[in-house]
Symmetry: C2
Subunit: 330 residues, 2 copies
């Protein structure tokens, strides 16, 4: 039994390798929800959904988000209506007093569907509709995601890190923006001064998450700041990780990052954007998996392999390296 902490790309790739190794029986995946947004009234959980779609065999493997072969009739029409009404495209936050009213979901992450800035496929949107309705009907996010896991035919427990809302905000010289505006709407082309997790001090990990953290834990090569960081900001998670054996795959080869905004974000929060910086940010990790070209010296056991996960066979190789690292410390 093993528990994965997952963001939206690196760890899902590792999961695809673990599944190829038939090593997911009884496993649990805890997904970051700091990236979640309400878009047009619907709760979108990008990281959790990538895991659900992967395990439900419908993930778009080109993008590592969304449903393979999905159409976008609604999304295209929303943007056509937006343009036809002479509105500019782009994110539209709802007003401050509307950010937290009504549903017990929001923490500065509500956007209008007008100018819909995230590409939401039609079948993907069906998942957001069902999830939002389940929550509106009184279910917790954990229950809603379990419902979706059943509906999508996943065979692994997928848990949101919390039933409480957390919003990952990126501080820019012009004020805070939501992570999704930073990454999706602006392509990461924004100067970042800091990162904050609004709501994290009030949010609690669920009992299911704390139970799962009693098992050995694997952190895939996820972004330490915005994928794993929101989980570490929740009371009790860091302490649980200090007690259980934990293996992490570095998302860097020394100071070169595989993909995504991890380097910029680490620099913004004062961490060195490198494997050494990841190790410093993860004092609770007992062993690391590094790329074979990564000569970083660490104070903890290291297993080296080619950590590039171009396909499932490569991902399985990285997963086996995680098993080897875990065997050294568990």
């Amino acid at each position: 039994m093993v528990t994965f902490l997952s963001g939206g790309t690196g760890t899902p790739k590792l999961l695809s390798g673990a599944r190829r190794a038939a090593a997911l029986d009884g496993a649990t995946v805890i997904g970051n929800t700091g990236d979640d947004v309400e878009l047009g009234g619907l709760l979108v959980c990008p990281d959790v959904d990538t895991v659900l779609y992967l395990l439900g065999d419908r993930l778009d493997r080109e993008t590592w988000w969304g449903v393979d072969g999905d159409t976008a009739e609604t999304h295209d029409e929303v943007l056509e209506l937006t343009a036809a009404a002479d509105e500019v495209p782009g994110p539209r936050y709802l007003d401050e007093d509307r950010q937290t009213s009504g549903r017990d979901l929001a923490r500065w992450r509500r956007f209008s569907a007008v100018g819909e800035f995230m590409h939401i496929g039609d079948r993907d949107r069906a998942v957001h509709l069902a999830r939002t309705s389940l929550i509106d009907a009184g279910h917790t996010l954990t229950e809603a995601i379990a419902w979706l896991g059943r509906a999508l035919g996943t065979d692994v427990d997928v848990l949101p890190m919390s039933d409480d809302p957390v919003a990952t905000l990126v501080q820019t010289p012009d004020g805070p923006i939501h992570f999704q505006e930073y990454w999706v709407a602006r392509g990461g082309d924004v100067h970042i001064d800091d990162v904050a997790f609004r709501g994290a001090s009030d949010a609690r990990p669920t009992d299911a998450v704390l139970d799962a953290l009693e098992e050995p834990v694997i952190l895939g090569p996820s972004n330490p700041v915005t994928s794993i960081g929101p989980m570490l900001a929740l009371s009790g998670i860091r302490k649980a990780l200090e007690v259980t054996p934990v293996v992490a795959v570095s998302p860097f080869v020394e100071d070169r990052v595989f993909s995504g905004p991890a380097a910029d974000l680490m620099a913004a929060v004062g961490d060195e954007p490198s494997t050494a910086g990841v190790a410093a940010a993860y004092p609770f990790v007992d062993a690391f998996v590094l790329d074979e070209a990564d000569e970083t010296e660490l104070d903890r056991p290291v297993v080296r392999t080619d950590t590039t996960m171009t396909d499932e066979a490569a991902a399985e190789r990285v997963f086996h390296a995680c098993e080897d690292a875990m065997a050294a410390v568990a």
Copy 2:
């Protein structure tokens, strides 16, 4: 200048004839919103949308609702997810305490998207997304519908009867159900004891509606109970109709109804399901357009024509009969 009061089928057909007669310059259409629902968090306005789609040249003329040629990827996927999660199809009202919380929209008309019981096309849903977002952003329903009218390229002012929520409920031996459950989910195959307009006593017609009712008014062959009834239940509308010249097209030929549930609904509220019953329910109507086969004797001027509107030419003929009737009383 003329103002139409419209439900979802009869009056939109008449409007297609009026447009063919190039008689809609400066016209206003006031749409019933008693049939509106929130479905999966999105506000759906079936009657108003039929008018918007007609005037925006994208109405499905087979069904007289929805967008011509629309796909239904999201809808189909919601139902597949519902079935895959071992849930039965059909309407799911949100709990009583969730019917009116959060948005200032609801009056017992909120449904889950799980088991989505109305067929919502993908481009149709884009309209509901944009409308809901505009309202969530602080716009009134009137403003949201004007926005949609611009976006859809309509050339006629379309107004909701009110910015306040009204829900048309059908009283059955097993309790009240929403009109859309009665008509869409159950196909009208329900015994009806009564009809109520929840919220109507608190709802007000907008100033734009009251202004439009200073013009001559045409009531198409809409259902008097659930299409026109919700408007008449609003304070001030009946009085405005008593003052201005009003022409109505009977939705009956004597006691035979053209389509829809008008006969059952009229009987349920104690009106005779016939042209005579319509005339009795509409004391403010100054002249009627009846089918040429309808020999009902009325106490007001009558113009007779073939009122079957099988195509736009036929609808134009009925519109000209309305003009003749108006000329007799205005």
